[in-house]
């Protein structure tokens, strides 16, 4: 048996255990890891904060690389995905999105027609999100060094410095809310993979979470909502495991409460995939004070994007750092951190 070569594999970017190893490798020797005691690199949260002296707000920053392929997929494209991903990360930190920077790296040979479609979609979504694009960079790389184009963004937002939303801020007894059906984005992309020819009307769920967040602004400001996370790479399995781990508690999920579309179930069954590990691009998970959970749920359900929201579970003290699933037939099993899936990049 040959020893495995030490190389970066696709799975290192899939939001699982290997990705954590990679991030640790990259970040371990950074000397300054946060500013003024704010959320920094070590916290591995959706973004970082920069507290400001003598001011009641703090800056929130997020960084994101958008490498989806193909560039156009059912329900969206690279441009829309880039803005949604950036804005949603800021919102998940409890911040008001202000501006973003945009880097575009293009493969030699891409047509202006395609670039135009992506940029138009990028600008339209930014307009919808009322976020400014304030600086950027462009590079063109020789043919073959990347697939068509990729974008990277930095999001900048502001939040009240009394807001405590953070991955490690879950409390025992919290209710877990998901704002809609899971797994649409990853499954819709996979169904379009070459050779599968699955005919389905399933669209990616890629969307701005603005309306949902606006509906619960008070609860965010009052710290009734303890944490928020958009379950992108690694799906809800990844996001919930991060929470359980960082907050040192367990999360119990009721399988029958988790909204999953029939198409997603069927396609995942067919391909041997677990919808809990599949990326969403327009959903949020919330950990909410149990006394306010129903109220928060009602508010989210009153929005267009949040109609399918559900309370799917709660946090407990037993089995700390683990996520458990009560299955539809009443059995119990663990939901583990995904390892990283052998599938093409989907976000």
């Amino acid at each position: 048996m040959p020893t495995p070569k030490k190389i970066i594999r696709l799975a290192h970017g899939a939001g699982g255990i290997l990705q954590e190893e990679l991030i640790d490798f990259i970040t371990k020797d950074i000397s300054h890891k946060n500013i003024n005691g704010g959320i920094g690199v070590l916290d591995l949260d959706d973004g970082a904060t920069m507290p400001l002296h003598n001011y009641d707000q703090e800056f929130v920053f997020t960084a994101d690389g958008h490498t989806v392929y193909p560039l156009f997929f059912p329900g969206g494209d690279l441009g829309k995905l880039s803005i949604c991903g950036t804005v949603n990360d800021l919102l998940m930190m409890g911040a008001k999105p202000l501006a973003l920077t945009s880097n575009i790296i293009i493969e030699e040979g891409l047509s202006f027609e395609i670039l135009d479609k992506i940029i138009t979609s990028f600008n339209q979504t930014a307009e919808e999100a009322q976020i400014a694009i304030i600086c950027g960079d462009t590079k063109v790389m020789p043919k073959g060094s990347l697939q068509d184009m990729i974008m990277t963004t930095t999001g900048i937002g502001l939040r009240k410095n009394t807001i405590k939303i953070e991955d490690k801020n879950l409390k025992i007894g919290d209710k877990i809310i998901i704002t809609g059906p899971i797994g649409d984005h990853g499954t819709a992309l996979m169904a379009k993979r070459e050779g599968l020819n699955i005919s389905t009307n399933l669209d990616s769920d890629v969307a701005l979470l603005l309306e949902i967040i606006k509906s619960i602004e008070n609860e965010i400001n009052n710290n009734v909502i303890h944490a928020m996370k958009d379950p992108t790479r690694g799906g809800i399995a990844g996001a919930l495991n991060h929470w359980a781990n960082k907050s040192n508690l367990s999360i119990f999920i009721e399988e029958e409460k988790v909204p999953i579309r029939n198409q997603v179930k069927a396609i995942c069954d067919m391909l041997g995939l677990d919808p809990y590990n599949i990326a969403c691009e327009g959903r949020a998970l919330l950990s909410v004070d149990p006394n306010h959970a129903e109220e928060v749920l009602d508010k989210i359900q009153s929005t267009k994007l949040g109609k399918g929201a559900q309370i799917i579970g709660e946090t407990k003290s037993e089995n700390p750092k683990r996520v458990l699933l009560n299955t539809i037939v009443g059995g119990t099993r663990f939901i583990d951190m995904p390892l990283g899936e052998p599938i093409p990049r989907i976000c």
Partner: protein, 364 residues
Amino acid sequence: MDIPGSEILKSKKFTEKLIKNIKANLDAIAKKVKLMHVCGTHEHTISKYGLRSLLPEGIEIVSGPGCPVCVCPAADIDKAIELGKRKDTVITTFGDMIRVPASNISLSELKAEGSDIRIVYGPNDAVKIAKQNPNKEVIFFAIGFETTVPLIGYELKTNPPSNFSVICAHKLIPAALELLISIDRLNIDGFISPGHVATIIGLKPFELFSKSYRVPNVVAGFEPNDVLLGILMLLKQIKSKKYETINEYSRVVKSEGNEVAQNVISEVFKSTVSPWRGIGRILDGGLAIKEKYAEFDADKKFDIEINDAQDIPPGCSCHLVMTGKIYPNECKLFRKTCTPINPIGPCMVSQEGTCSIYYKYHSD
């Protein structure tokens, strides 16, 4: 997408009823019971729905050699690798197969070195590739049990192009079950037999176990309550000491099986002594291509000799896992050096492999 009326197969109420009945029957038997399934999909259902957590302690469910990727011997993979190294050759196979470590490397490592190795979703895709590439040899590495055999048989029967051939590594389930019964100290009290295999071959080949070996046998489907109902049917037989082969999966399985598929199999293939990875040579444990179709048999078409293939790497306990002697977590490599990302043994590679499923759904 569900079949109307199939809600009961996942109904919690029905599950509770089944568990109550299972407990009552186990109490009446008044001893521990060890049941074996021989199908990766059964293990998947059991683990995914947490069925072991619902069953009383006195029932042990062990997995037999039910994953076709796992039981494919290293020598056959080495053969595909040797052929894959040749110029103008395309090796096609099912997804999981390309990751299985053989004696030295896997097909996926060979692909990284530049060979043309392609994942297909069925043999018809491989035939398509052969037609599109008339100047290349396109070889389908055929693995699987009775369920995948008819597909390949059909392709060979319907005039595939002359540049298409097959490495035939098909295995047959009944012979493996018979070998398992005879394994010392395994003491299986009953078999949960794979419904999809019975869909093709019918119930008759399974009846041998209840009739000659007096081991209860239930052919079961793949929803959680299918498996639990199967377990209950086995316990009732153990309690009454009347041993039969019962069809739990009657909504799909006909007692005579699928005769069209059987005819395709017997037209193209003959049963043969076959090596199973980690288990050994099994009489009638596999299939070979009949003389009539020899021109499509890669073994005959190409001159390749494989010596000293290594089935089980040092330290790996896949052979013990596959014969139900230990659980994956009793292997000293499990979850330490052997993970789905870095699989050492075959049971960790395939999504149907016992170790891979156990890794995903269990905590220890």
